[in-house]
């Protein structure tokens, strides 16, 4: 789930700017004023074949690279020597360590979700319901953590809290509080965007009506506005909980040996203790938690969509007035959050400029080396190049597969059997939405050694890491593109057809033309996710072809101020590239919606 955090929740109406794009002009053959041609076939074989292919490609991809590994993983937990055997469960659950990890996971996620909501709702009010100078800049700034790779966030928090850091005196390094703080840091923007997105579309006249009926401002908020926001709050809470419960990179960096989540525990059991059965059992537990959080999230999403369709486009936000108690309190909380978000980021950049011999760019020039006492097998620059190449492959796969999923699932065919097939596919394709990256990586390790009895070891293929990253990024692509496709009025396609556009041209000139921005956004998200992906990659990256996050994690695990400085510099590099890509993608968003 590590990779999933690169999405920003906004709830803009899905209308596209009219200047979006133009179809390429076809070369003009002789004019034919009457378009009607006699005859014609019932759209049959070709169409069925095309849609079969559109559904088949993602089915096969996700079947081989998601369903099969996960099924194998689950089977490992339940079956030993060909028979149902629950002894592994009994054994793993008899360990105190297991219960401690499950408790920690739920506690971390629960507390972090609660704090993110407490801070995020005032933030949503200030940043989406009130107008002030610099609002756009503050909005952009608070979303930066959400798109940062988790390893980078871990390193940034350590640079702040660990020995020598500006907040060393707090003694928070390696504590539960530090992990919770990092999780809140990540997910604050998710709450602000989800809740604020609905809030700005709420019709203020409903609350005004309550006031006119005699409700005090507080009463009006509690009895009118809060219930209206409830679906967005529930949706944000379940997503934040999901992200926190599946946090991997940041927890691994910050938690040390004492704290962890089920995700980090799967990784430790696999790579340190080589206890694959225990890891399988934990993966099953993780799947249950993820499924529960997803079920709550999708329920909340459905009510939110209903609520949204009811709301009128709200008028311009009112200016922020610090004289009013409510505004002042909300603005105060938000200002504090801004400072707290800035701290680790500033600390990361500042400390990356501090070398053992004083201030300078020594850590950055060292990126061309393999680190102190050859900590690495390749230079950081080489790792960065690996990352970019892998991200490119992963993005192509994720956008292709995710785009096809969104296309197929968005259809509403007339025939009952076809409609049933689509809703079945919908359910099947939604399964990996909550995929835990560590589970994918671990599953790949289990299954891709001589898959299906073939004499190939896919584990050594250069495509393995991109494939795993694509599996992690597909849900994000679907979530970005599907709502936009679904928002297209089917009659728009009918209008195009009556104007003479065949099925293919309808697809190109209506569906594709109206989704092109969302697709651009999806490309950006997928690329950023892939660049920062650590959960699956940490299992699968070959030692001679590590990615940037893998290299960073390795560097901070090695002794020596030189390696540590390089880790900081590499983190700054990764953060800049990721943030840059997201910034470009966000510009593409325009008024195009999408769920994230």
């Amino acid at each position: 789930m590590d990779g999933h955090r690169h999405g920003l929740s906004t709830l803009k109406p899905s209308t596209l700017a009219p200047d979006a794009d133009r179809q390429p002009r076809p070369t003009p053959p002789p004019p034919s004023p009457t378009r009607a041609r006699a005859g014609g076939r019932r759209p049959g074989v070709g169409r069925v074949l095309a849609w079969g292919l559109a559904a088949g490609i993602p089915l096969v991809f996700l079947g081989v690279f998601f369903a099969w590994p996960v099924a194998t993983l689950v089977a490992r937990g339940f079956i030993a020597d060909g028979a149902l055997d629950l002894s592994a469960f009994a054994e793993v659950f008899a360990r105190q360590r297991t219960w401690r990890i499950i408790g920690l996971t739920l506690a971390q996620a629960g507390i972090a979700t609660a704090i993110a909501l407490l801070l995020g709702i005032p933030g949503a009010y200030v940043l989406h319901r009130r107008q002030f100078r610099g609002r756009a800049a503050v909005r952009a700034f608070v979303t930066v953590p959400f798109v940062l790779p988790t390893v980078v966030v871990g390193v940034a928090f350590r640079s702040l809290l660990a020995t020598g850091g500006p907040l060393d005196f707090l003694g928070l390094d390696g504590t539960f509080a530090a992990i919770v703080a990092a999780l809140v840091f990540f997910n604050y923007a998710l709450v602000v965007r989800t809740v604020g997105g609905l809030w700005e579309h709420l019709d203020p006249r409903t609350e005004q009506a309550a006031r006119a009926l005699g409700a005090s401002p507080l009463r009006a908020f509690a009895s009118v506005t809060l219930p209206a926001l409830a679906p967005a709050i529930a949706s944000a809470a379940s997503l934040v909980f999901l992200f926190c419960a599946t946090a991997f990179g940041a927890v691994l960096v910050l938690g040390g040996t004492r704290y962890g989540t089920i995700e980090t525990e799967i990784w430790i059991q696999t790579t340190q203790f080589l206890d694959l059965r225990a890891a399988s059992v934990l993966s099953v537990v993780q799947l249950v938690i993820v499924a529960a959080a997803l079920a709550v999230a999708s329920r909340a999403r459905r009510t939110r969509e209903r609520a949204l369709s009811l709301s009128e486009p709200a008028g311009a936000a009112r200016p922020l007035r610090l004289r009013s108690g409510v505004d002042a309190a909300a603005a105060g909380v938000t200002a504090l959050v801004v400072v707290l978000i800035a701290l680790p980021l500033v600390s990361l950049v500042v400390r990356s400029l501090r070398t053992p011999t004083g201030w300078g760019i020594g850590n950055y020039t060292a990126l061309g080396t393999t680190g102190g006492s050859n900590a690495l097998t390749v230079t950081v620059w080489e790792a960065a190049a690996n990352s970019l190449r892998i991200a490119l492959d992963a993005t192509v796969m994720a956008v292709l597969v995710g785009g096809l999923v969104a296309l197929v699932v968005s259809r509403r065919p007339r025939r009952r059997s076809a409609r049933r097939a689509v809703s079945l596919l919908d359910a099947v394709f939604m399964l990996p939405l909550g995929v835990s990256a560590v589970t994918v990586g671990f599953g790949f390790l289990l299954t891709l050694d001589h898959p299906f009895g073939l004499d190939v070891d896919l584990r050594r293929s250069a495509l393995l890491v991109p494939i795993a990253q694509a599996v992690v990024a597909v849900p994000l692509v679907v979530r970005t593109v599907l709502p936009v496709l679904r928002a297209i009025d089917p009659r728009l396609r009918e209008a195009a057809a009556t104007l003479g556009a065949g099925p293919g041209r309808v697809l190109a000139s209506v569906d594709l033309a109206m989704t092109v921005r969302a697709l651009g956004l999806a490309v950006g998200f997928a690329f950023a996710v892939s660049l920062g992906e650590f959960g699956a990659t940490s299992f699968l990256a070959r030692p001679d072809r590590p990615t940037l996050p893998v290299v960073i994690f390795k560097l901070i695990g090695r002794p020596g101020a030189e390696n540590h400085g390089m880790a900081l510099a590499a983190s700054v590099l990764l953060a800049l590239v990721t943030a840059g890509i997201i910034a470009v993608a966000e510009r593409l968003r325009g008024p195009a919606g999408g769920e994230l």
């Binding site: 794009d21 003009p28 004019p31 004023p33 014609g40 057809a497 009556t498 065949g502 209506v510």
Partner: protein
């Protein structure tokens, strides 16, 4: 035959096997001659839009056939039929500007750019939006959007234009003005059209003929004047806005029969009165006779009690309870004044009476 022929058309929704089937259209036979504008009139949910969608090829036929110039259209996909379709809410492409919308069909027909440009300008002129080509769709008002949608549908010179309640989403004044404009645009371009509406005034304004549908069946198709003069049934008359029905053989009918004059067509038994068919001539004075201004041309035909008065479009309308007819809307003759509770004498406006 020339033009559109709809023969015993049926359209069904839902699943027959599960008993959840709805017969939206049930055996409708209808033709539209080339160059003719046929208005398909009916209450919402009567299946008129389903007829339209079936003709466009957007709904499968459960039974019957749709043909053009004698050639059956079964198996001809939507985009090959050459039928334009205009929706109630326009369905303009939001990612294209006004010109981009209008020229869409021309692109699909692979018309060269110069010709496209000329045709777009011509069409925008026809719908009264000359010079709007570069405007973004989002900046248009509701009426302007419908004009663009009309231009877009007309641009590729469709053999037949299907209009699905194109004016229903607009406010009344605009609707009435646009109905005239649609009519003149269709006539100016010589377009054959099937115009669906639930508004009988609109149907009469736009259509050369009006076809009335109810509950999936076609009740009557006739030119507006004939339709209003001789509705085929009480159901049609009710839908056309006739308010009260008087049996001409009854005691009450006698007065009305007298007012209508002597020569009634054979078989007529019932007079249908539209709103305003009864005109308040004045107050009933005293218990015995009626006064007011009945005359030889317009004798007093009934009396009633005024329930309420209303002022509509600058004229007074009275809601009057008439024994045997119930509550009817009566017009007020010039100078007639009445207040709720008054007994009034009513004369007949022959032009607002239909014979059944």
């Amino acid at each position: 035959m020339d033009g559109l022929m709809i023969d015993a058309l049926s359209v069904r929704y839902g699943d027959a096997r599960r008993g959840a089937e709805v017969r939206a259209v049930d055996g409708v036979t209808l033709e539209v001659q080339r160059g003719e504008v046929l208005a398909l009139l009916g209450p919402s949910g009567c299946g008129k839009s389903s007829v339209l969608r079936a003709v466009a090829g957007l709904e499968p036929l459960a039974a019957g056939s749709v043909s053009w110039d004698g050639a059956d259209l079964a198996g001809v996909p939507v985009h090959r039929r050459g039928f334009g379709l205009m929706f109630q809410d326009g369905q303009l492409f939001p990612h294209r500007d006004v010109a981009g919308n209008v020229e869409y069909g021309l692109r699909m027909a692979r018309i060269p750019r110069e010709q496209r440009r000329a045709r777009v300008a011509e069409l925008l002129d026809v719908v009264g939006l000359a010079g709007y080509g570069a405007r973004a769709v989002a900046t248009l008002s509701g009426g302007e959007r419908q004009r663009v949608a009309l231009a877009r549908a007309l641009a590729p010179r469709p053999r037949l234009l299907l209009l699905d309640e194109p004016l229903s989403a607009l406010d009344r004044a605009l609707r009435e003005r646009l109905a005239d404009d649609v009519r003149s645009a269709l006539v100016a371009t010589g377009t054959t059209a099937l115009f669906v509406t639930h508004d009988h005034d609109e149907a009469a304004t736009v259509g050369d003929r009006v076809a009335v549908m109810s509950a999936g069946r076609l009740l009557q198709a006739a030119p507006p004047a004939e339709l209003w003069r001789r509705p085929a049934s009480r159901e049609v008359a009710e839908f056309l806005g006739y308010q009260a029905f008087v049996d001409l053989d009854s005691a009450q009918g006698a007065a009305i029969r007298g007012a209508l004059g002597g020569d009634l067509p054979a078989g007529v038994r019932v007079a249908a009165l539209a709103e305003g068919a009864l005109v308040v001539a004045g107050l009933v004075v005293g218990p015995v006779g009626m006064s007011g201004s009945g005359s030889a041309e317009a004798p007093v035909v009934a009396s009633g009690t005024v329930l309420a008065t209303a002022f509509r479009r600058g004229r007074t309308e009275l809601s009057v309870r008439v024994e045997g007819l119930g509550r009817v809307t009566a017009a007020a003759a010039a100078g007639a004044v009445a207040a709720p509770g008054d007994e009034v004498a009513l004369t007949l406006d022959r032009k607002a009476v239909a014979l059944l």
